[in-house]
Symmetry: none
Subunit: 81 residues, 4 copies
């Protein structure tokens, strides 16, 4: 449950828009546990942001324990939810 409504009145960093969208899609089950998220370039293009921004969103997801990243392979939704 997103306790983070994207309030257009409160300035919100672009990476949070990506983050929120990914969190929502994971919760909706679009990306099931174990599934691979889109690559950084794909996320960047899809959300119309710089690659750094996509990376930052993924890092946030990682630090929140929602996904796991494996070098050279990709970023995956954690199974141990």
């Amino acid at each position: 449950m997103p306790e983070r409504p994207s309030d257009p009145h409160s300035p919100r960093a672009p990476y949070m828009r990506v983050l929120d969208a990914l969190v929502a899609e994971i919760e909706e089950g679009k990306y099931e546990p174990g599934a691979k998220l889109p690559s950084e370039p794909e996320l960047a293009e899809r959300f119309g942001v710089a690659r750094m921004t996509a990376r930052r969103a993924l890092r946030e997801l990682r630090e929140q324990g929602i996904v796991e990243t494996e070098w050279g392979k990709g970023t995956f939704v954690k199974r141990s939810d």
Copy 2:
């Protein structure tokens, strides 16, 4: 299977982990001058990395003058330390 093939948060890149381990073992005398190091596939399996990563560590050892590589034979600890 290695539980965590490589931790992106680790302060040292995977190839440095392999490098450090080999340097330590050579210094400890596990591999004496003239001795043959394990083959690249063996190192890869032992450290849970791709062969290219094992190769990267061996290249570093070679450039540091610690080992010598002979085509089709293997990598050996240098005698002229």
Copy 3:
């Protein structure tokens, strides 16, 4: 299935046994045009030969224009049969 029985009386180089078997399988359609042949280690194990022997058979197939090899990818049955 092998229409080229390996006659123990006529001395036949080991690589030719592999070669004959592969030619037969390609003609039988086991490997269709564009299909990937087994890798060198796989052929070596399957026929109980050294890897060099498997390689030599593949090279022969290549020189006969039956297959094409792409570096880093594999060996494939030619489409322009």
Copy 4:
């Protein structure tokens, strides 16, 4: 797509083809001292090789002291020729 990504029968490995071409262009003055070489992905596409192969050629140029690489910026022809 490149018609023949790399010919295994070629006397020179693919990375040497890239290396030779770059050396020639630098000597011809196409890239003057201080100039930036094309990026790795660009070289890879131009020569029809994998990025690692383009990198291999650049590494050779670097070790020969012909170019310098700056992190996150690019590879440049050395001024102190």
